[in-house]
């Protein structure tokens, strides 16, 4: 008796014997090989492309000849004519096994693709989204055995895809009958099945094979900006990113101002809810347009945000979050429909998932950072700082993870800074000040040239030089300190004291001139004493939060620091350390994680198991409430100077000790940093 042919799949290495004539797709399924198929082997979706390998495979003990698979067939030819198959590719549902063979499953044919992330240390994202496409053939109605169209669809999904049960809302039901008939009883359904016990939900249905894909939005809803990443739910690729200012800013720059607005105007939160939902709707339309897709293909959205934004997005009164004990209406993750939230521009049945909050001041954004950066899996003690209007701070390792938030205010995002602006073309993002001449040079977003390099004027002609963004102001302040224009207390010296006319009198204090285009009708970009104070407050809050967590664990040093946040990744770590934004650590132990909260949202969007994971992890995080910790106040007061210690400089490779200058001023109360209201 001859043995059945041996099939070896790569890269998985899974192998087995199959009777001659078995389709490759069938063999793959039986072995649990990750080979995609939307149409279930009907030869129409082309997701199951494989590459047979011919020749000698001593490793597998195989010799494979050209007869190992059945001949190229008409279905494959039709697909090749219509769309083109890459050379050497076959359709796994058409090619049948005829002899021993080695079959490679290319990455794009795998369901659980791995999404590439830039940072080497970053966790991998394995594609396993909650929403997937299923092509099914539905039985036609039979008068003699009457059942509803939905019930026959459910049965088809059970029989053809092992889906035990489905649910559909009225809007889906109202299109079901016409789509089934238009597709001649062959349809593609998008099914949402999350990590809970809830039955799969039909989010959409199309006649025949749906080939336009499915998309999800990962939204990082910040106090100041809203960032969205349009993600292909099959490949995991971010096909478009876009952002806009949070329109709630007109109700208050920081969170506490917005809570105060509601305290002063009971019920006023609904206005803020309306504008932020409208902004997400606008963002949905524009991002779909930019990507060239139909916005109704957006079938899922994951939102991460801080607790106040969480409540304001959901239409919940945030006043309890403005006063001790800072009680959230709900801290659990949220499962909603787009229609529940007035998100009218995506698929009407799109599912919305909002990550759980950790505490009244530590929100779903911090949870998302934890999901992305996994402090609980770190062997060394890692401090993760998500810099924004409200900073989320996590400290931990495999033994414990602590979290708090700190009200840094919007200065780091360029707000409340005299020449501040969003990070956009024309904004100064990097600055160097010559310690001898006290002359600045800078770079603006949109050009790689420094302002003293040839071609700079031409390169910035279109955008102009319009202001300073968050990373620019941090570098400016740090460089001013290093150039001796600023003393330890944060006071800007006069022209006489500093020896440069760029330090101009400005009321009772001084400003430092960075760029003057006023002769051409352009702006005069300066750093004022008020700007310095805003940055001092922000960085002191950030530092105090981090120190508080270190106190709780009982350590004086952390092993490494991760800077996160849409803006965190643009901060020069050297300048951040000069400013004293973060505790002292070797410079090469400071890394940037990019928008970790946004990445956490993307992970939750692409991998449904990660939702269960973060729901578990948030319960294991120890929450620290900065607002009621006396030590936070203490650290905050001590942290406003630049620097508060000279001990750090040996570890700041390449940085000379800061000048020990001390300026006098005739100024009164107005020039000292004051604690900002919590927000």
């Amino acid at each position: 008796m001859t043995k059945d042919p041996l099939v070896v799949f790569t890269p998985s290495g899974k192998r087995g014997h199959f009777a001659a004539g078995t389709p490759v797709l069938t063999a793959a399924r039986q072995l649990g090989v990750d080979l995609d198929s939307v149409c279930g082997g009907r030869g129409i979706c082309s997701k199951c492309q494989i590459t047979p390998a011919y020749g000698e495979f001593p490793k597998h003990g195989l010799s494979v000849d050209e007869q190992a698979l059945s001949d190229w067939n008409a279905v494959e030819q039709r697909y090749d004519d219509k769309r083109g198959l890459k050379p050497g590719r076959r359709l796994g549902c058409q090619a049948t096994i005829q002899g021993d063979v080695v079959i490679d499953v290319p990455p794009e044919s795998q369901v659980h693709k791995q999404v590439i992330r830039k940072a080497a240390s970053a966790r991998k994202i394995i594609m396993d989204p909650a929403t997937r496409l299923y092509f099914v053939e539905v039985e036609e109605p039979d008068m003699h055995s009457p059942t509803g169209d939905l019930e026959r669809l459910e049965r088809a999904l059970r029989e053809q895809w092992d889906i035990p049960a489905i649910q559909a809302d009225l809007t889906l039901l109202s299109k079901l009958q016409s789509v089934l008939r238009k597709g001649k009883w062959q349809v593609t359904v998008a099914l949402y099945k999350d990590h809970t016990d809830a039955p799969a939900l039909v989010t959409d249905i199309w006649p025949g094979l749906h080939e336009s894909g499915l998309y999800g939005l990962a939204i990082d809803l910040g106090s100041t900006t809203i960032a969205a990443h349009l993600t292909d739910l099959e490949s995991g690729a971010v096909v478009e990113s876009s952002g806009l200012m949070n329109p709630q800013i007109r109700f208050g720059e920081d969170l506490m101002s917005r809570v105060s607005y509601v305290m002063m105007n009971p019920g006023g939160h609904t206005e803020m809810t309306d504008v932020v939902r409208e902004a997400i709707n606008d963002l949905t339309v524009s991002i779909a347009q930019d990507a060239g897709i139909d916005a109704t293909l957006i079938v899922e959205t994951v939102v991460v945000c801080n607790p106040v934004m969480h409540h304001l997005l959901l239409g919940l009164d945030p006043v309890e979050l403005g006063q001790a004990p800072f009680a959230l209406a709900t801290s659990g993750s949220m499962f909603l429909g787009a229609d529940d939230m007035g998100l009218t521009q995506m698929n009407p049945r799109a599912r919305i998932y909002i990550l759980p909050c950790i505490a009244g001041h530590v929100g779903a954004d911090a949870a998302a950072v934890a999901l992305s950066e996994e402090p609980g899996k770190s062997k060394d003690l890692v401090l993760i700082v998500d810099v924004g209007t409200n900073a989320e701070i996590l400290l931990g390792n495999t033994e414990q993870v602590l979290a708090c938030s700190s009200p840094t205010g919007p200065a780091f995002e360029g707000a409340q800074i005299s020449s501040g602006q969003r990070a956009a073309p024309g904004a100064i993002e990097r600055i160097e000040i010559d310690p001898v001449s006290k002359t600045p040079r800078f770079r603006v977003i949109g050009s790689d040239l420094w302002s003293d390099e040839e071609g700079f004027d031409l390169a910035t002609a279109t955008s102009g030089i319009t202001g300073i963004c968050g990373s620019g102001i941090i570098e400016a302040v740090a460089e001013m300190r290093m150039a001796g224009l600023l003393d330890e207390s944060g006071l800007i010296g006069s022209a006489e004291q500093t020896g440069t006319v760029r330090c101009e009198a400005d009321g009772r204090t001084h400003s430092y001139l960075i760029h003057d285009a006023s002769a051409d009708g352009g702006p005069r970009i300066t750093v004022t004493q008020g700007d310095i104070r805003a940055i001092q407050l922000a960085k002191a809050a950030l530092y105090a939060g981090a120190r508080l967590l270190m106190d709780k664990i009982g350590v004086e040093h952390v092993d490494r620091v991760v800077l996160a946040g849409a803006f965190g990744s643009h901060i020069s770590t050297k300048h951040a350390m000069v400013l004293g934004m973060i505790p002292d650590v070797e410079l090469d132990k400071v890394t940037s994680a990019g928008n970790a909260a946004g990445t956490g949202a993307r992970i939750a969007l692409c991998n449904v198991a990660s939702r269960a994971e973060i729901e578990r992890v948030v319960h294991e995080i120890t929450k620290v409430e900065t607002a009621i910790e006396p030590r936070f106040q203490e650290h905050f007061v001590n942290a406003s100077a630049i620097p508060n210690s000279v001990d750090k400089f040996p570890i700041l490779t390449g940085i000379v000790p800061l000048p020990a200058v001390k300026f006098n001023t005739g100024g009164g109360d107005g020039d000292r940093p004051r604690r900002r209201r919590r927000g």
Copy 2:
């Protein structure tokens, strides 16, 4: 060692020994005695009232003295002062066991009360609604162990009531925080937990103890009328019933006309959806007003209806139901929220349950009849006919149950009848015609007097005599036949042929005058040839449906007949049999079940397990589609005469054989019964 006191509960007979000092409520819970409590034994809800019995109980072997329970305490005194306790009553959570005792649980203290139904044969309704009240004490928020208010409510329900998990929507969340604080962390929640695996849903929350009860609506949505029963979800009592005409009538009298309207006006179903939802909203407001309750206390609604009304209520295009193979969009039961259906006048989080449909022409109303009348539990072969614009017909016994629907048209509801009207005060509901003088006498709704009795004019002065309702027209036609005014084919004789001037010429046919108030400006109430034809069509359709099911089983006779329908219960069984509406059976084997569909809705409202039952039962019912059965046409044609057979008369006790009259007419095509379009 002395034995612990023995406690015997009546009426359950459950008994056990309990340590002295055990509260009666605790003992009842441990024994599984059905004793209510909303507050969980805190002495504030007074639901756990019991009556201790003192004296000698030889049956239980007990002698009970006055010291068997602890003394009347301050909590009981406070409740008695405030609300009054019935003599002999104690609060089960306050009175503790001190010695052997017999304790009676009065019906109103039982959770699973039995609701009294009038008909002796009717199934009992045991109260076990999906929505119940729970009083809980919620832990206050703690900054050091931050969790959301919802999560603490969930924990309280788990710890105090063994509810494993809850869900709440955004509208509930948006009131949660203020209610918890207003109630000083003591609240009553209404929880909806149905027969599925879905977690309990918080439908409402009130500060402190909620004492205004919970209500549900049982709605029988017919083609012609909408009937609603406001039901107390605690006692099961129908506190108010109300009805109105289905406003969709303006789009078509019968179902097929409405489907045709959509065929002619694609998308036109949404107009019909809007008006029927608006009508339910109006009905909700008026029924709550009449009952003197806040409409937001209506937290559940069960709807039964035929398939076309089902689709039109849900906003689904019904055109598929107008053509073979009559495919429903969905045949399963529906679980919806009031907001999904535009039902804006009840609690915004009210849950809507719609019974499953049996087939494209046999709807949730037929399922409700099956739930109420339980043909599958009948040992003898029972024919159940739910008379309406569309008749639902069930035939079966413990071995099998068959179902079909038959398009009777609205004649039985008084529509399409020249002097027809709804059953309302002033409508003629009973008629007798003297076989000798051919003079009618009648009764109108609102009075027990016959028109030839003294005081009739006075009794009907307010309502007037306005028309004939469905039961009246059936009696009129049957009486006319018995009085020899009508021949076997259904033709009304002339004055000469019948010997009474009441048979007036009316175009080419004749009418019979029942009441003439035209001298006083009142109506002239007659039965026209057209009326006779409408009734003939209706009764032939009904009869043909029943016969078709009998053919399927292969029987010539049924053991008993149940007439159902809002109007079915008012039909005189004798007259129905004379007309040939139903197959021949002994008169005393014909019973009336009242509005069985409405009762089915009430059962599903009051007892959540019955929902699982009917979902199972509908799968066991054999569906017969009258529209495609040639034998249905055959039976229909044969059944239009009155009567089609004289064989039946021996069993019609007290009815003399019908006159064998045959009238001639000069009339053309217009006077013969024609098959109505399906509807």
